[in-house]
């Protein structure tokens, strides 16, 4: 039936409607303005409208929704951090991902297939034990595994005992997984719009209006807008936008590069990560291998590629899977990441009244999207920061209450 698809397309029974609608004009005032139409900003807007009845919300995005780091991460979802504060927070996100496809009415292709992190030194084994016990205490699925168990989990892994960095053991995190990152932004945007939220693309914020220490609105390339509350959710530009509100943040910005190979038959079910080798890999539903690693060596706002990073990723991946040596790279890219001194995000109040920060998402933003959206919305709606995100406030630096996740974050994402 060669014309079947064409006939189906013209059938009146299934009229095509737009998933997203774009309002033409900006109003002069909104209850809440969210700067940044990525996953985080749209999730906050959705939760404000859905659970707190705040529907006079405007999301302003300088490009198009989900066009920044939402679509540039490597889709890793996990909660195997080292501090109880982080594990509890990221666990909340993992739990939300479980039912999110149904809630948003979009297939996120959420695939919970576990993450295996490899240890190549005794020091790493010790931190893995702490991460495993912290994770169990907080109710996540996580355990230490030995070489025999690693062979069972990933039979294709190359594990010679005389390697330069032999695999000594691993951290097996059954809750780890992946999901379609762009669908997350579209899903939140579509649901939020149906509840009355306005999403304005190609509207760049150029300034924050502040009167007597209170944020009262934003200036954009399409004119000024007044607001009761202003939220910034702009990964990669946290410092630049915060500076418009006169806030200096403890953030340094680095590019993070990744690449994808040609599609292969499915051979790798779990996500495999090695902080010691600065590489992590997962196989997508299409069969492509997504490969990532550590950040660039110096601060930069440019998403340009470098051969050195790609060579390093390839070299280290081949130590784990030598049979990939003749596989070709299909695509490569970089995202701009806002790294904090303790590799934990900054969520909550800022020194400017009515100005909220959702910043410093470094290399851990995508996996946190549902939880940051839910709890940031609660904070904005009630004026009280919920207990689960309270440890991530900007004021933790002045009081030295850091949440150090460098070991559980760098090169593992």
């Amino acid at each position: 039936m060669p014309f079947g698809l064409l006939k189906y397309g013209f059938r009146k029974r299934y009229p095509a409607g737009p998933d997203l609608s774009w309002p033409s004009d900006l109003k002069s005032h909104y209850d809440v303005i969210i700067i940044g139409g990525g996953g985080h900003g749209l999730a906050i807007a959705y939760h404000l409208a859905k659970h707190w009845g705040i529907r006079d919300v405007c999301v302003v995005e300088k490009g198009y929704i989900g066009g920044g780091n939402t679509a540039r991460n490597t889709m890793v979802i996990r909660s195997n951090y080292i501090t109880p504060q982080s594990v509890r927070f990221y666990k909340a996100a993992v739990d939300l991902f479980g039912t999110l496809s149904g809630e948003l009415g979009i297939n996120l292709m959420y695939s919970q297939r576990g993450q295996l992190t490899l240890a190549h030194s005794d020091a790493t084994i010790r931190t893995f034990r702490l991460r495993a016990e912290t994770g169990k205490f907080c109710g996540t699925r996580i355990e230490m595994v030995d070489r025999a168990q690693i062979r069972e989990i990933v039979p294709s892994l190359h594990m010679p005992e005389d390697a330069r960095y032999p695999i000594l053991g691993g951290l097996w995190h059954e809750d780890g997984g992946t999901a379609r990152h762009d669908a997350l932004a579209w899903g939140y945007a579509a649901r939020a719009q149906r509840l009355g939220v306005e999403v304005h693309q190609r509207t760049e914020v150029t300034g924050i209006q502040i009167e007597k220490g209170r944020a009262t609105g934003v200036e954009t390339t399409r004119g000024a807008i007044g607001a009761g509350q202003v939220v910034q959710a702009v990964s990669g530009l946290s410092s630049v936008v915060a500076k418009m509100a006169g806030i200096v943040l403890p953030i340094r910005t680095y590019p993070l590069q990744a690449m994808v190979t040609q599609p292969l038959k499915p051979f790798l079910d779990p996500l495999v990560s090695s902080a010691g080798l600065h590489v992590y890999v997962s196989q997508t539903a299409r069969g492509e291998l997504v490969i990532g690693g550590g950040s660039d060596p110096y601060e930069l706002y440019a998403a340009r590629p470098t051969l050195e990073i790609k060579e390093g990723l390839a070299m280290h991946l081949l130590e784990l899977f030598p049979f990939l040596s003749n596989v070709r790279i299909l695509r490569q890219w970089a995202g701009i990441t806002d790294i904090t001194p303790d590799y934990s995000p900054i969520m909550g109040k800022s020194p400017v009244e009515n100005y909220w920060l959702d910043a410093g998402w470094g290399t851990y933003g995508f996996k946190a999207t549902p939880a940051s959206g839910k709890y940031m919305a609660q904070a904005i709606a009630t004026g009280t920061v919920p207990e689960i995100i309270a440890p991530f406030g900007l004021d933790r630096f002045a009081t030295m209450d850091l949440i150090n996740e460098m070991g559980a974050t760098a090169a593992s994402h």
């Binding site: 530009l237 410092s239 630049v240 200096v248 943040l249 403890p250 953030i251 340094r252 910005t253 060596p297 110096y298 601060e299 930069l300 706002y301 440019a302 340009r304 470098t306 051969l307 050195e308 001194p341 630096f397 002045a398 030295m400």
Partner: protein
């Protein structure tokens, strides 16, 4: 590979260098508030544009100043720290 000019060793691969952050003035040892110290310790201007930073050529452990653009990834100028601090112009 990207090349950086070291004032001591000439042009070398950028992988031989490490960036040590913005040139900044610490608060006065006595008198500065805890807040001022915390800000100095943690905060960063994180400028999108031209910055002035400490860099080090690792194999020779030589520290110097580099001016570069963080948006275009261009290295504008590298010079000995003496040039900056001799003038008393350490901002």
């Amino acid at each position: 590979m990207k090349v950086m000019r070291c004032p001591l060793n000439g042009e070398r691969n950028i992988s031989e260098f490490t960036c040590l952050g913005e040139v900044s003035e610490p608060p006065a040892p006595d008198g500065a508030s805890d807040e001022a110290w915390a800000a100095h310790l943690w905060n960063s201007n994180n400028t999108a544009g031209v910055v002035r930073e400490w860099w080090c050529h690792v194999p020779t452990s030589y520290w110097f100043i580099a001016e570069r653009n963080t948006v275009t990834d261009e290295i504008l100028r590298t010079y000995a720290a003496a040039e900056l601090f001799a003038k008393g112009n350490n901002e």
